[in-house]
């Protein structure tokens, strides 16, 4: 590891990555890339910058592009600035049957933005095209940040969103 990775990744982030690194053999550091990116994203209020990804690459001894590939592949990583709270409304089949379209519409109307956009105050972000979040029995459902909210109704959505700071 060199100085850049150290200055860009906080001590906390690095220690979290180290926990993961311990689980893999010494010469397979790249196995920790998902965890490392998650930590790096967390440190930066929900999105990754090129700088952060480069730092992760350096920390794990990977080429930068290999990290970009992973970060851009998984929908849980954001590579553009987004709002503090990331809202993912599941629109996959079970949720769809239970009326997820109405939920999406309601969230959009309430926040005054379309899916894929962030509110002007930087508070909320509605994520594009979330696939089944494996909570089908509670559909329609959404995930905000890392928390699941199930059996949604417009009223319930209001309550949840209003409760966030």
């Amino acid at each position: 590891m060199t100085e850049t990775a150290k200055t860009i990744l906080t001590e906390h982030t690095r220690s979290e990555i180290d926990v993961w690194l311990k689980k893999y053999p010494e010469d397979r550091k790249q196995s920790a890339v998902l965890a490392a990116l998650r930590e790096a994203q967390h440190q930066n209020h929900g999105y990754l910058t090129t700088e952060l990804m480069d730092a992760v690459a350096e920390y794990l001894g990977m080429s930068n592009i290999a990290v970009y590939e992973v970060a851009s592949f998984y929908s849980m990583f954001e590579t553009q600035p987004v709002g503090r709270h990331s809202i993912s409304v599941c629109t996959n089949i079970s949720c769809l049957l239970m009326g997820s379209d109405d939920i999406v519409e309601h969230v959009e109307k309430k926040l005054g933005i379309k899916t894929g956009e962030t509110t002007a105050d930087g508070k909320f972000y509605i994520k594009c095209e979330e696939e089944c979040l494996a909570a089908c029995c509670g559909g329609p459902m959404m995930m905000i940040d890392h928390k699941y909210y199930e059996n949604l109704t417009p009223e319930k959505v209001d309550e949840i969103l209003d409760g966030l700071d």
Partner: protein, 793 residues
């Protein structure tokens, strides 16, 4: 081996195969065509395009031939209904998002997708929906991207990882949003990057300099030999009308496999530089005048004749470019010697010639190029092989990936695209000492005896674990080599490095080899363009002046062939001064420049590569003859033709050649057999001087500055591998002198000083200043190595 032999049946034919081979290797070897996009024989198997689906008996569905290992008794059908239907369906999928813009695509006519679409594609697309569009990326001056055409075969990605050793291209995004690119805007920076143009089966990656300048079916393909390093890569030269439009590699497993360095691929642009000299020109009272060849020849005869008469042949110096053809070199020395001078040389970037008599026939690579791959250990001394001989570096890389210990002793911490076992980075002055320490460690571990003189020399040297490790790695390998690179050759104590390297090789039972600089560095030795040897390596009774001495002594007259002395010589200042002060300078040159126009009296336009027939002898001793494939620009003529006429004008015997092959026959006769051995007569080192405390200059020649053609190849000049006319110093030295990046520094050598930009570069060791040669800003400084002073300007 025979245990591994199995028999399979393909399309009713029974074929032999080895266990573990993939089906496609067998069909390829037996000329049975299986369509493919992602498979490439030099890359790992990705099996992601599925174009190679074939029917295999007992398999429930078609299998990809590139990823199906053969098994005894396997029955394969490549053209059955099942196979062809599968291939057709894959084709339909691949074309869903393809723009089908063949009429405006440079790849059209040589596109694997286009070819296969003809064979397997439907006439009418069933796809009615929106096609995706991918924004093009700017990945530098050499490669044009049109990524909407990409079919995601990942050949370019695998090339980066597996061959270039530098992963720059990648597949970002997912599903329909997957894109090939660099993700961030950046130039791909490999010295071999152009190969992805050949690898890309579609028009997603094409040549930027070639773009829209010809349709592929208008091009005629001719064979050639690459002119910019000592490898002698085989090339195809693509010509439209009478112009070179493009250069691509030709397969030669023994030399360049299927690859080509960027320098050899894109240098052809230099042929059509605006600087090309179109007509013979003579200077009359300080004014340049275009003349015809006849007049020019008369002037040459008269001026050269009177210079010889009034000053004697000893006042004539002859310098040739080491990328001249064997025929040109041979004729040049024949004339020089016939008019009575041995002052002839093409070792332009060398200064220590003291042991030139001890070299065997020519400085040989020490092994064949292909055998570099199977080395177990190599010590490189003063070499940036990755940029200097990219193809050789590729072989070393393969060895390294197989576990070979590649070790470096360098004055700059160059970046290599493979793991380097150990590296020692020291000031040039300290390099002999480091070698002596390795030698001492070697003697200690092997317990061998050495001669008294050497023993005394190395007795008091301290050795460290690093030295012991290098010694061990060489001594314990079955197949090891010690290689002297371009920087070693330019070192002020080259002979000392050579003798120490020789002793290390001897006591570790390693081979010794040289990485020579130019396309015909070997030919220089074999054709006798040397002050001390005649053609064929025969000792000359009269020894003339070497390059450095010729410049130091400021002779009255010079003849230059393809040389820009102030750019190409070890001491740029001495070269410039010698030229400016000479009474007569006759320059056989493809280009004009302000410098040449200042000092020359006659400029004769000569052909460059592709315009002339000739022969190069590569670093491994292979002689490769090529034809001229395009007519020379303007009135330029091949230098060998001019030299033939000149010989006749001077009434010299034996200049009645009809073709360059007559010349070749004569050279080859005097060479006899090309002896590939380095059984040099080593001189034992006599003393090792302790390093001084002065700041040391280091000079490197960036890859694309190596000769006058590259320096005028516009796209290559936009890459990072060119001279920046700056001083490179490390953070510590910068701090000491209160300098930071982009500051101006006053730089002094001897009594000369210039102002240069500062680049903080931590690859440079303490108390050293790295300067890139062949840049106009630094010519006045002079010697490539030695003491230097810097201060804030």
């Amino acid at each position: 081996m025979s245990d591994d032999q199995i028999t399979i049946e393909v399309d009713g034919k029974s074929l032999k195969a080895n266990k573990g081979q993939m089906l496609i290797e067998i069909t390829d070897a037996n000329d049975i065509y299986v369509p493919r996009f992602c498979y490439h024989k030099k890359l790992t198997v990705a099996a992601n395009c599925r174009m190679c689906l074939v029917e295999v008996e007992k398999a429930p569905k078609p299998l990809p031939a590139c990823a199906t290992p053969v098994m005894d008794g396997m029955k394969v059908k490549t053209r059955s209904k099942l196979a062809v239907n599968a291939q057709k369906s894959i084709m339909e999928f691949l074309l869903i998002n393809h723009p089908l813009d063949c009429p405006i695509c440079d790849q059209g006519g040589e596109c694997e997708l286009q070819d296969l679409a003809m064979g397997y594609g439907g006439d009418v697309s069933r796809y009615q929906e929106k096609k995706r569009v991918v924004k093009d990326k700017n990945i530098g001056p050499l490669i044009q991207t049109d990524l909407t055409r990409c079919i995601h075969c990942t050949r370019c990605v695998r090339f980066g990882e597996e061959v270039a050793g530098l992963r720059e291209m990648g597949a970002t995004g997912r599903g329909e949003n997957m894109e090939i690119g660099t993700y961030i805007e950046k130039s791909v920076n490999s010295e071999m990057s152009g190969n992805i143009i050949d690898l890309c089966p579609v028009g997603a990656l094409t040549s930027k300099p070639f773009r829209y300048s010809a349709r592929t079916w208008e091009l005629v393909e001719k064979d050639g030999i690459a002119p910019h390093d000592s490898v002698g890569s085989n090339i195809h030269i693509h010509i439209k009308g009478d112009r070179v439009k493009r250069v691509a590699p030709a397969d030669n497993e023994a030399i360049n496999e299927v690859w080509l360095s960027d320098r050899d691929r894109f240098s052809y642009e230099g042929i059509y530089s605006e600087d090309r000299l179109q007509n013979p020109m003579i200077k009359e009272e300080g004014v340049w005048k275009e003349v015809d060849w006849e007049t020019a020849l008369d002037v040459v005869k008269q001026k050269l004749g009177s210079a010889l008469e009034s000053h004697g042949a000893n006042q004539l110096g002859v310098l040739a470019s080491p990328s001249s053809t064997l025929e040109e070199l041979y004729l040049l020395q024949k004339i020089a010697r016939a008019v009575g001078t041995n002052n002839i040389d093409a070792r332009l970037r060398q200064v220590d010639f003291s042991d030139q008599n001890s070299v065997s026939q020519f400085p040989w690579l020490g092994t064949s190029i292909a055998d570099l791959e199977t080395l177990q250990s190599a010590l490189l001394i003063g070499s940036n092989v990755r940029k200097e001989q990219p193809i050789i570096n590729h072989r070393l890389r393969k060895a390294a990936l197989k576990g070979a210990a590649i070790m470096m002793l360098n004055p700059v911490d160059y970046d290599f695209n493979y793991p380097v076992e150990t590296k020692t980075i020291v000031a040039p002055e300290k390099m002999p000492m480091e070698l002596a320490a390795i030698l001492k460690a070697l003697i200690e571990t092997t317990g061998q005896s050495i001669d008294e003189q050497t023993k005394q020399c190395i007795d008091n040297i301290d050795i460290t674990d690093a030295h012991r490790k290098m010694a061990d790695k060489l001594a314990n390998a079955d197949d090891a080599i010690v290689l002297l690179g371009n920087i070693a050759t330019a070192h002020p104590h080259f002979s000392l490095l050579r003798s120490l390297a020789g002793l290390i090789a001897k006591h570790s039972n390693s081979k010794i080899g040289y990485l020579s600089e130019a396309a015909n560095s070997s030919g220089v030795w074999l054709s006798g363009v040397l002050p001390h040897r005649l053609a064929g390596g025969v000792e000359s009774t009269n020894v003339g002046l070497n390059t450095h001495a010729m410049l130091q002594e400021k002779l009255k007259a010079y003849v230059l062939m393809g040389v820009e002395p102030e750019m190409d010589c070890w001491d740029s200042r001495a070269a410039r001064t010698a030229m400016n002060e000479a009474e007569l300078v006759i320059s056989l040159t493809a280009y004009r420049s302000d410098e040449i126009e200042k000092y020359a009296d006659v400029m004769l336009p000569v052909s460059v590569f592709a315009e002339t027939s000739g022969t190069f002898i590569n670093n491994a001793g292979s002689s490769q003859t090529f034809a001229g494939v395009v007519p020379p620009v303007g009135q330029a003529r091949p230098a060998w033709k001019f030299l033939r006429v000149l010989g006749n004008l001077f009434n010299l015997d034996g200049f009645d050649y009809e073709s360059s092959s007559d010349v070749l026959d004569e050279v080859m006769q005097s060479i006899g057999e090309i002896k590939t051995n380095n059984m040099d007569q080593w001189q034992s080192p006599t003393s090792l001087e302790p390093a001084s405390n002065d700041l040391q200059r280091i000079t490197e020649i960036p890859m694309n500055m190596i000769d006058s053609i590259c320096r005028r190849a516009v796209s290559l000049q936009k890459t990072a591998d060119v001279s920046d006319g700056a001083i490179h110093i490390n953070t510590a030295l910068a701090g000491k002198n209160n300098l930071t990046d982009a500051d101006n520094a006053r730089v002094e050598q001897d009594e000369n000083s210039v102002t240069l930009k500062v680049v903080v570069d931590d690859r440079v060791p303490d108390d050293c200043v790295l300067i890139q040669a062949a840049h106009i800003a630094q010519i006045d400084l002079g010697a490539s190595f030695g003491s230097i002073r810097i201060a804030k300007a």
